[in-house]
Amino acid sequence: SVARRAVAEVAQHDKVPRPVGFVPPPPPCPGKIRHFKI
């Protein structure tokens, strides 16, 4: 239980805090529409 708690704590601290205004990158696909979508 100690190990689990320790891991839990480490995992908690490991979570990288996201900077304010973080915008996730656009999904790789599908790409942009060049004309119009039917």
């Binding site: 656009p26 790789p28 696909c29 599908p30 790409g31 942009k32 529409i33 060049r34 004309h35 119009f36 979508k37 039917i38």
Partner: protein
């Protein structure tokens, strides 16, 4: 530690665009009927490394029909995309390409095209006439009359029908048939009487063209025909020539 696999390509990466451009050129270069298509969207791309400087690329593309017939020498970049009010047609293609030392080649392709739904067209543009079917009798009559009218009024080579590209029929407020068709010059002049014996010119002299015609049926009877001959184009291995097929 095995080398990390390369990050997956984004559909808008330059490499993806280059592969899509090669694919669209291949599609238009191997098409024998209808109109040129242009890229509208890269739906998906998957790259499978095959070894040093050797990759297999799977592409899924969304294309849109342009107003240029497939025989037109107009560069694709100058071909206007058919607007949705003109009843747009989209193409979907799955292709397998290979990239060896940076050089792209198409290994396989599978495409199909479909017109925008009539409901969608009607919803966006209630007065826009939808596409008609090729064997509609009014379409067939309009094409026959338009080509005969053009041959009777123009000197030079007698033109024969290669294929009907598209047609639309409007019923209100006037009854009008709009047709577009591809033509080819024959070995006769329009002055000759026995045009049935006319033959399409061989590939090394071929001269294709494209005509648009508007036939007003009601309230008046009017026919307007406009044909543009492309002049002789040197056949290339990829250039689709319809001279062997006439429809």
């Amino acid at each position: 530690v095995p080398a990390a696999s390369p990050a997956p390509l984004s559909c808008d990466d330059p490499e993806s665009e280059a592969a899509a451009e090669a694919a669209v050129n291949y599609i238009n270069g191997h098409s024998h009927h209808g109109y040129k298509f242009t890229l509208n969207r890269i739906e998906n791309i998957r790259v499978l490394p095959q070894g040093p400087s050797n990759e297999v690329i799977f592409l899924e593309l969304d294309l849109l029909e342009t107003i240029c017939h497939i025989l037109s020498p107009t560069p694709l970049a100058n071909c206007t995309v058919r607007s949705f009010t003109d009843h747009a047609v989209e193409g979907e293609c799955d292709l397998k390409l290979q990239k060896v030392n940076g050089k792209l080649s198409v290994l396989a392709s599978k495409c199909h095209s479909k017109a925008d739904s009539s409901e969608d067209l009607l919803q966006r543009c209630p007065d826009c006439p939808p596409l008609a079917i090729f064997n509609d009798t009014e379409v067939q009559k309009a094409v026959t009359e338009a080509l005969s009218d053009y041959n009777s009024k123009n000197a030079g080579a007698y033109l024969k029908l290669l294929e009907i590209g598209r047609a639309k029929i409007q019923y209100h407020p006037a009854h009008i048939v709009f047709v577009e068709f591809a033509v080819a010059a024959t070995n006769c002049s329009t002055a000759e009487a026995n045009v049935e014996a006319c033959q399409l010119l061989p590939d090394d002299q071929s001269n294709f063209g494209f005509c648009t015609a508007t036939k007003v049926i009601r309230p008046s009877q009017e026919l307007q025909v406009n044909c543009q001959l492309y002049g002789h184009q040197v056949p290339t291995p990829d250039t689709s020539f319809l001279s062997r097929e006439t429809s």
